[in-house]
């Protein structure tokens, strides 16, 4: 596709359930990022992939959060035993390396997660 796509666009789940969020980056982009935006907050970095490796997982808020990337393309963010504070919009972004003029990242539309 032309841009970054994410699925599902909306997810409502019950507290304690596991959820999987998917990201399809722009074809050929080697770098992939996950962010989340809680209500009234800016975007918060979660994890960075370079190819299939995740050299920076420093933003993952707890061990309930994990992510993987396969084939240097699609990524899945998994949240186990969801809690109400996990409710947020989860955004995926991709970029190509080496960079040109600036470290621009291209964002998908996000997945709105609501934990009841």
């Amino acid at each position: 596709g032309a841009g970054v796509s994410q699925s599902p666009s909306n997810k409502v789940t019950e507290k304690g359930k596991d959820v999987e969020l998917r990201c399809d980056p722009i074809s050929g982009h080697t770098a992939l990022y996950w962010y989340r935006q809680s209500l009234g907050q800016g975007l918060e970095f979660l994890i960075y992939f370079q190819g299939n490796s995740a050299p920076d997982k420093s933003g993952l808020p707890s061990d309930r959060f994990s992510a993987e990337r396969t084939g240097g393309s699609v990524s899945t963010l998994t949240i186990q035993r969801t809690q109400q504070e996990d409710s947020a919009v989860y955004l995926c972004a991709s970029s190509s390396l080496p960079f040109g003029v600036s470290p621009e990242q291209f964002f998908g539309p996000g997945t709105r997660l609501t934990v009841l």
């Binding site: 970054v4 770098a31 990022y33 962010y35 009234g40 907050q41 800016g42 975007l43 918060e44 970095f45 960075y48 370079q50 050299p55 920076d56 933003g59 955004l91 972004a93 970029s95 390396l97 960079f99 003029v101 600036s102 470290p103 621009e104 990242q105 291209f106 964002f107 998908g108 539309p109 996000g110």
Partner: protein
């Protein structure tokens, strides 16, 4: 501790006038600054960026100014149009190795009135 701050949650401007959105940062290691625009239910879209070695970058109606000594940047939109109404995020990049992760401010909601 917020490293990128946008102290104005909202700004209202008349069509045709100048919009000035401000951003302050605390991390002197930031080497690139970016502005993103976000409409409801969409992902942020890149607007304009500036390297820390520059003090101004212009692209059409959008100009970003960087004052490194004050750790302050601003986005000027001239003339403002109703279609510019959106949330604007300031972001900064701290190149740790090859990881260009972005640190975002909380955003400023710009409303341009016809």
């Amino acid at each position: 501790d917020q490293q990128v701050k946008q102290n104005s949650p909202s700004l209202s401007v008349q069509e045709g006038r100048i919009s000035i959105l401000n951003c302050d940062y605390t991390n002197s290691m930031f080497d690139y600054f970016l502005w993103y625009k976000k409409y409801p239910a969409e992902g942020p879209t890149f607007l304009i960026s500036i390297s820390s070695i520059k003090d101004k970058n212009e692209d059409g109606r959008f100009t970003v100014f960087l004052n490194k000594s004050a750790k302050h940047l601003s986005l000027h939109i001239v003339p403002s149009q109703p279609g510019d109404s959106a949330v604007y995020f300031c972001a900064a990049s701290d190149k740790g190795g090859s990881n260009y992760k972005l640190t975002f401010g909380k955003g400023t909601l710009l409303t341009v009135n016809p």
